[in-house]
Subunit: 352 residues, 2 copies
């Protein structure tokens, strides 16, 4: 009989570290760029508008990873009343050579990490190397992952400013707890690698402060990450200084928008998947409004990583990485978790 | 933490019986008819033409069943060399009220049963009640399920004739073993229900013979089930006598065809899903050739089951049930397996 591994949330948190997830997500982007990966159409279904929906993202990767599979995630807004999480998801991974199932994994932490990794990769390849000020917009669940990842890929950050458009209290709480969370959830993974532990400990030991004034915070930022569920722009064009890099994480559905669409007219724009950012990403609205066209999107990030296309061409460039999130990120991260779990003999093996 | 049940092939074989699967698949068709069920778009991907592909079928059911989920099935032709099954599949079932995962199940036996059930339901609602001669075309994996299900729903069958267009040997083997297989795999489920056991034992204890002459076999048949991977018609129009019912199971991909397209011009045609039979079912070719139009399809089978539309209107009607297979069949059958497994405390519970 065929068997596969089940990895729950707790084990996945134990197994994965941000540095290796960033590395494998880069690999996914590169495979996509070299036609070694396919994204299948996304399936979405609304059970009840504003109350419950679900989607299925699926795809395939060749190369070293060599898997196919899917992530199914549902959102049931009223689950809180039932003492259940609103977002529940699972990832299924199969061997691309045989179709044999490799694993079923909880999707929550993997989604957090792979989305953080995307932000870190955007900053790594598109921000100025001397970037010192990081601005995180949105102090929700993703803020931690974005912060952890950006500080992993950027070497010179001295200050992280946090702004939440809905709840200043959340931004305050975030800043109060962030150092402990970075230490416990991210840094702790490198206790057996003294040198890297030291490097990362230093990068994480910087100033975290709540933004008093979003206009001023944007004006000071070298790197901005937006990770909100916003449907109206939070950042104005005239606030953004030359040389800034912006990673847009929040927009992943039609109608979502985090930054003013006119910023696209002065920026070099990069995508995780061009088709997807036009449909559901931050690029949707500027394209619909005719501010840019599809042809104005410089490249997918995989082309930058593999060196085919230049990211930033001058210090003064404003760059945007529009990251909508693709199944390939989930599949490579899940594969990494399965690989480490196998090495460490963790998870439950069940027969199909 | 959230937990779900894993049911492997062996346990599923133990848990499910054909009578209850037929009943729940009828319920799925009825829910579909009453807009209490949705089919999501099918995702297909070819890894290598003629060598490996996969598909994801998904959907949602309300009503008593109240689940959503998916079946992912892959086919890797060269798996035989690796001592692995060519077809590998898994079904994931989630609660439609909360998104909580209910189970991960092996797809093979469920697919066999739910496809058999479809054939049984077609015969139940569309064949003449006095049908005595059943012709099974295709002696492959599905033949057993089709036979078991048709003999469950038809009360007066006296003879089953079996024809395989590729291998007469397979038809011979099938007829040699069928009584033992029906007894062990199907009848044995009713050992605790003496009356039903007796009824079904009698229906299964009939003549099984290999067709000498396909033309003659078709001419004698009251009910025909086609379950082959054929891409050219096996049955000619002029062979089919008045009053015959034909269930077409094999055609589930563009280009597949089992019966001559002109039969559609003289038949009352029913579908599991009208959109799907036009795209990938037996109806694809007659519609493409202009022999019938979409409007000539009388109804979906759910409308017949729920009594909204008449199936057969006269003894002389030739009826066709074009069954391509829909995710709802898998989801209800998987739900039934999970329900019985819970009652019997079978399967493995794992945390997500």
């Amino acid at each position: 009989m065929i068997s596969f591994r089940v990895l729950n949330e707790e084990i996945i948190k134990e197994l994965l570290d941000i540095k290796n997830v960033i590395q494998i997500v880069e690999e996914a982007y590169i495979l996509k760029d070299s036609d070694q990966a396919s994204l299948f159409p996304i399936i979405t279904h609304v059970f009840e508008p504003g109350k419950a929906d679900m989607d299925i993202k699926s795809g395939q990767l060749k190369g070293n990873v060599n898997v196919f599979g899917l992530k199914i995630v549902s959102w049931f807004g009223e689950n809180i009343k039932k003492n259940l999480p609103s977002l529940i998801g699972a990832i299924m991974v199969f061997d691309s050579q045989t179709g044999v199932p490799l694993g079923v994994l909880s999707a929550e932490h993997i989604t957090g990490l792979r989305t953080g990794a995307a932000g870190g990769i955007g900053a790594k390849y598109l921000a100025r190397k001397d970037s010192e000020n990081l601005l995180i917009i949105g102090a929700g669940r993703q803020a931690l992952f974005q912060t952890a990842a950006a500080l992993t890929t950027l070497e010179n950050i001295k200050k992280v400013t946090v702004y939440d458009p809905i709840s200043n209290e959340m931004a305050i709480n975030f800043c109060n707890n962030i150092k402990i969370r970075l230490k416990n959830d991210f840094l702790s993974k490198y206790e057996n690698d003294k040198d890297y532990f030291k490097t990362l400990a230093k990068r994480y030991d910087i100033i975290f402060k709540v933004a008093d004034d979003i206009k001023k915070a944007v004006g000071e930022a070298d790197v901005i990450v937006t990770a909100t569920p916003s449907r109206k722009p939070i950042i104005k064009k005239e606030w953004v200084k030359r040389g800034t890099h912006i990673t847009c994480i929040g927009s992943d559905m039609e109608g979502k928008q985090e930054i003013n669409e006119n910023i696209f007219s002065i920026a070099r724009v990069f995508a995780d998947d061009i088709n997807q950012i036009i449909k559901v990403g931050e690029a949707e609205i500027p394209i619909k409004k005719g501010i840019i066209t599809r042809e104005d999107i410089v490249a997918e990030i995989g082309e930058v990583i593999s060196g085919k296309v230049a990211g930033r061409v001058s210090e003064g460039d404003i760059t945007i990485f529009d990251s909508t999130g693709i199944a390939l990120q989930d599949l490579v991260t899940a594969s990494l978790a399965l690989k480490v779990a196998k090495e460490k003999d963790l998870g439950i093996i069940v027969e199909l």
